[in-house]
Structures are given as C-alpha cells and as structure tokens.
Symmetry: none
Subunit: 201 residues, 4 copies
DNA sequence: AATGAATGAGTTTTCATTCAT
DNA sequence: GATGAATGAAAACTCATTCAT
C-alpha cells in the first residue's frame, strides 16, 4: 500500500515535470530525457508509467485541464446566466493566464493529436455545450433570448476566451493589463445581450 | 519567357503540394521527401525554391491566407457595421470550410512557429483590429455602442469564427450543416447587438 | 563497476575505430556511419559519447597526440641540448612512423579545424617552443649559440620532423629505410651545429 | 583562333576565381556555384573546362604553385650555396606570405588529395631534392660538408619554410613581423652551417 | 520495480554533376 | 559553346523506445 502510494506520487511527479517542460518547449520540443531528468527518474522509468510519450500527454491533459474544468462546470449549477457566465469566464481567465505557456502547448496538441482532440471534444466541449444549452433552454421558455443555435453561442464564448488569452496577451498590452473580472463581465454582457430577443421590452 | 512561366508554376506547384500535405499531417508531420514526391520533383529541387522547409511554410501562409484576407479586408470599405461584418464572416466561413484541413494546419503553426505568428499578428490580426476600431469609432460618436475595448470585440469575432469552423465542424454535425450565410448573420447580430448601448432607446 | 569499466572501454573503442578511419579517409572522408560500424555500435551510440563528430576528433587528438607529447616533453628534463634533441626527435620519429596515416590525418585537421589548431598551438607548439627557448637560454649565457629567434629554431625542428616523416616517407625509400636513431642524430646535429656561434673557437 | 584565345582566357578566369574562393573557404568549402558566380559564368560552364571540381584544383595547383616554383628553381642555377639558398627561401617566403590563405588551402590538399600529392612530390619536391643534391655534391668533393642524406637536408629546408610561414605566422607575432630577408638569411645560415664538416679548418 | 546504455529509422539540408534547350 | 534548372545520393544528428542487468 505504501508502495502504491509512492507509485501514485511518482506518476504525479512525472506529470508535473512533463507539464513544466511541455510549457517551455511544447510537446514535441520536450524530450523524454529532459522529462525524466526533471522528474528525477531514469528515462526507462517513464515508460513503466506511460506506455508512450503520447499517453503521458493525454494523462497530463486529463489531470490538468479536463478534470479542473469538469469540476468547475459542476460547481456552477444554478445561477442566473449573467452571473454563471461571468464566473465561468473569470475562473478560466485566471487559470489560463496563470499557466499560459502550458495552456498554449496543450491547445496546440488539441489541434494536432487525434486522441487529445477527441478527449477535448468529448470531455470539455460537449459538457460546456450542454451547459449552454441548458442555460438557454431555461430562459427560452420565457422568450428572453432569440432561438439561436446553441453551438454557435458556445463557440462564441469559447473562441472569445481563447482568442483573448492565448493571442490577445501578445498582441495587445493594454488588453493584457485589464483585470480578469472586467474582461469576464464585458464578455458575458456582450454575449448575453447579443443573444437577447430585443423585440421584447 | 516560357521558362519564367514554367518556373513560376513550379513554385506554385510545390506550394500546393505542401499545402495538401501540411493539411494532412501538419507542418512537422509532412516530410520534405513526401512534399517533393507529391509535387513531382526531386527533394533537392524544393531547396532551389525555398531555402528552408520553414520558408516554404511561410510562403504558403502568405499565398493562401495573408493575401486573400488582406484583399478581402480592403474590398469591404464603407458599409454599415451589420452588413460589413456579415460579409466578412461569410467570406471567411466559406473559404475556411473549403480548405478546412489546411486552415487547421496553418492555425497550429500560428501558435508554434515564431515567424508565422509574427506574420499573423502583424498582417492579419492588426489590420482586422484596425477595421473593428474604425467601425466602432464611426458609430460611437452617435452613442450607439458601449465603449468596449476594441481588442475584446476583435477577439470575440475572430474567436467565434475559428471556434465555429475549426472545432465546431467536428463536434456538431448540425452546425456543420447550417448554410454559411445563416451562421454569418447570426454571429454578426450577436456581436453587434451585444455591444449596443441598450440604455439608448 | 563492471559497467563503468565497460563503458570506458566503449569510449576507447570508438576512438580507436575513428582513428583507423580518419587515418584512411581523413576526418571529412570518414562518415559517422562507417565509424559506428567499425566500432561495432549503432550510429546513435556515437553521439552518446561525443556530442559531435568534431568532439570525437578532438578527443582522439587529445588521447593520441597531445597527452603523449606532453608526457614526453616532461620526461626529458635536464639533459644537454644534443642529447635532449636527439631523444625528443627519436621518440617522435618512432611514434609517428608507427601511426603514419593517422598522423597525416591529424596533421591535416590542425590546418583545417579551428578547435584542433588551437589545441595544437597551445598544448603542443607552445610547450615545445618554451622548451627550445629554455634550452637556448641555458647555453646562450655561455655564448655558445648565436642569438637566433627561438621560434625560428623551433619551427626548423618541427618542420624537419614533419617533413621527414609525413612526406619524406613517401618520396624517398632510402630515407624511409634509415633507422630512426640515425635520422634523429643527424637532424639534431644539423640544427645545433647550425645555431652554434662559429666565431667562438 | 580568336575563339581559342577567348577560351584560354575563360579558363584562366575560372582558375583565378577558384583560387580566390579556395583561399577563403578551402577546397571543400568553396562550392562550384560560388566559383561560377565569381568567374561570371554559369555553373554548367565550369564543367566544359574542367571535367571535375578536382581537376580544377589540379589545374590551379599546376598554374599557381608548380610552374612558379619550377621557373624559380631553374632561374637560380649557378650560385654558391649560401646565396642560392637565401634567394630561394626569400622568394618563397615573400610569395607564400603574399598568398597565405591560398597556400594554406593548397597545402591542405597536398595532404588530402592523392593526385595533388603526386604532382607535388613529382613536380616540386623531387626537383628541389635534385637541386639540393647537386648543391651538396658540388661541395662535397671539397669536403666542406658532412655526407648527410640529401633528403634529410631537403626536408629540413622545406619543413622550416612551411613551419615558419604556415604556422609561425599565427603563433608568434614577433616572427610574423620579421622581414623575410632576415628570416631567409638566418635559415640559410642555420642549415648550411649545420651541415658543415666542422672538423675542417 | 528501476535503470540507463543502446538502438536505428528518420529528418533536413548540401552540392557536384548532368542535360535539354 | 553556354546555360542553369534539376537531380538524388549522402551527411550529421535526434530521440522515442527497448531490454539486459
């Protein structure tokens, strides 16, 4: 049992070491040798925990991106849309800013790696979509919002979030200086007002 | 003269072959050997036209992404915001859908490759930002829009566009089936209504 | 412990294999693939021991030329000039004859390769020059030798040694057949009598 | 005939261009493309004049080293040894210093390239050896010199010359500053006094 | 379980030489 | 004769993965 505990720690240590190096050099840029050294284990040991470098990436993605977002989504159940969206965006902005290079590296692999993309679409994008759908459905009965396609709204939210963090930070120092709560509020307002049914009073 | 025409074609043929392979396997995944074979030339010939694989990528990016967008931006000068945005989004949606895998590959390199990113930020993102700024400025005097940070608006537009095309296509078959003009109209409306100053009557 | 011994042997084996091939084909002419095959290892293994083909050359130069000469110079401390020079020349002649092709290859790289030249000038030529200077200085006080520029004398010694071995062996079968002690004696006498102050009785 | 003259000039121009580039980058370092550009001809044209890059080297060696030395040797026929040697060394020192980088490049190929070495040994070393032999023979009858092996003496002369110019220049700034006539005189004296039969007079 | 030495397929790039025009 | 676009073999080096200890 003690051993299993230790092994679990090993696994976590390796993931953390990999995260540091993927953040610095990207997935392809970080070599297994570097990761092993950073984790304080032998190179061969890596492959006892993860059959493949790619499996390590996937485990890291799961541990550092999927789980936190899912936890966060489940922790935000019953609020009114403006507040829900503001909180969701704020948390994401803060987290992503804090680990920008790692996020960039992960984000790149979402595009490159079939397995990672699949996990992203199934475990992150789809639950978020469901959440948006639920949110809209709850209010649509009251005619507050126009009957837009929920995917559209979801991708506006997600796209804005990623454009602002991953690219905006480098293009626009002014934007980078804005406090996250302000960005979150403005984005949330933009989206929700944008989908309002303005024919209603 | 004939020769010059022919060699100009060679260059274009190589770029097209590279585009096909970058689309399939990404920049790093496509080898120079494959590209040469696909273009029907010897491997060494590649390097007569482009000193480096990376230069080939950059030339391709320039030819297939930068120039078209810039031409398009300049061809949409003096319209009212809703129509301008709708047309811009529509053209981009159609183009990107038509070359989806290539766009995905390029998009990835925007993140990875310093040179490509620089070109993207300078030649695409910045002009688009200026356009958005101009559009907002023209109307702000009339108090129609809230005084949002233009970068925010720009990244919402850009992020929505890319989320919908590059990811949305794969997540949501329904969304993939929507005609581009409808997506363009809904997105344009969402954004512009979202930034309206609703306190005005 | 066994492992350390074995891997030390690997390094030495690779150096020896490289020496054989450098001797046959020169530094540029010998490919890393050939060296690996000759050493009985995989090509990649080479680069575990030497980060660069050039580093391998340098290590070989160090092991097979620099160290032996320095040891030899230090082992010949306090003799009268004729005997000192004779012994020095004799040892060099024997050693260089025994490894003629390798010496030729090294010699070439002294001219070509900046790093090797630096090592040669600093670790071999300079100490030898100092030795010659010291030798002359000891006797100059007694007015036995003309006050020649020590570099001149050093290069006469060095040039004669290398001309005789590296080229003379191939030009002149008669010369090649002479026993080294005879060559050494004649050269030493030539040089020392050549620098004598003949105005002294 | 006019054409043939022109062609002869082309050949010479190419050789001169090659000489400049070999001096800068060495034989292997200079590409045929560079040489063609420097000579103002197309790359393919090179191969109409010289079937191989190596043949071009050989032609250059012949034109710029072999012929001048042979001419020089023949122009120094009947002098007494000291003057003959002094003049020979002086001319060589001046010429080699003036074209040091080219000489270094040629010198390197003497070692590397079988064909060049053969030419060097046959056309340069052997005639010089004959000259030295003749010189010694003329005086040996008079018992002035000890009966040394002529090759030994020849290689002392040649080795000293090359050591001083090709290496000495870089090791020893003081030596580099010495006027060539002084070096020539000291070297000539060293050698000739070194081979004197000191038991005479 | 852990190690780390060994592997070798695979990568980009160079350049002397050829040959159709 | 002259051209220069095309060639493709070859080179140095990398790194995820294996496996004997």
């Amino acid at each position: 049992m003690g051993l299993r505990r230790v092994s679990g720690m090993r696994r976590a240590e390796i993931i953390e070491a990999a995260a540091r190096l993927f953040a610095q050099h990207g997935f392809r840029g970080a070599t297994t040798r570097q990761i092993a050294r950073e984790a304080g284990v032998a190179e061969g040991t890596l492959f006892r925990y993860f059959p493949t470098k790619r499996h390590l990436l996937l485990a890291m993605f799961e541990a550092l991106a999927v789980s936190p977002i899912q936890r966060h989504l489940q922790a935000l159940p019953a609020m009114e849309p403006q507040r829900w969206l503001e909180e969701f965006l704020w948390e994401r902005l803060v987290t992503m800013r804090a680990q920008l290079p790692l996020m960039q590296a992960l984000y790149q692999e979402i595009r490159t790696d079939e397995a990672v993309r699949r996990v992203f679409l199934d475990q992150i994008a789809r639950p978020l979509l469901e959440e948006v759908r639920r949110m809209l459905a709850a209010e649509l009965g009251q005619g507050r919002y126009r009957p837009l396609h929920p995917s559209l709204v979801m991708w506006v939210i997600w796209g804005a979030l990623h454009g602002v963090t991953i690219f905006g930070m480098e293009l626009d120092p002014e934007l980078a200086a804005l406090p996250p709560e302000q960005i979150a509020r403005q984005l949330a307002t933009l989206v929700l007002q944008g989908i309002e049914d303005s024919s209603q009073t």
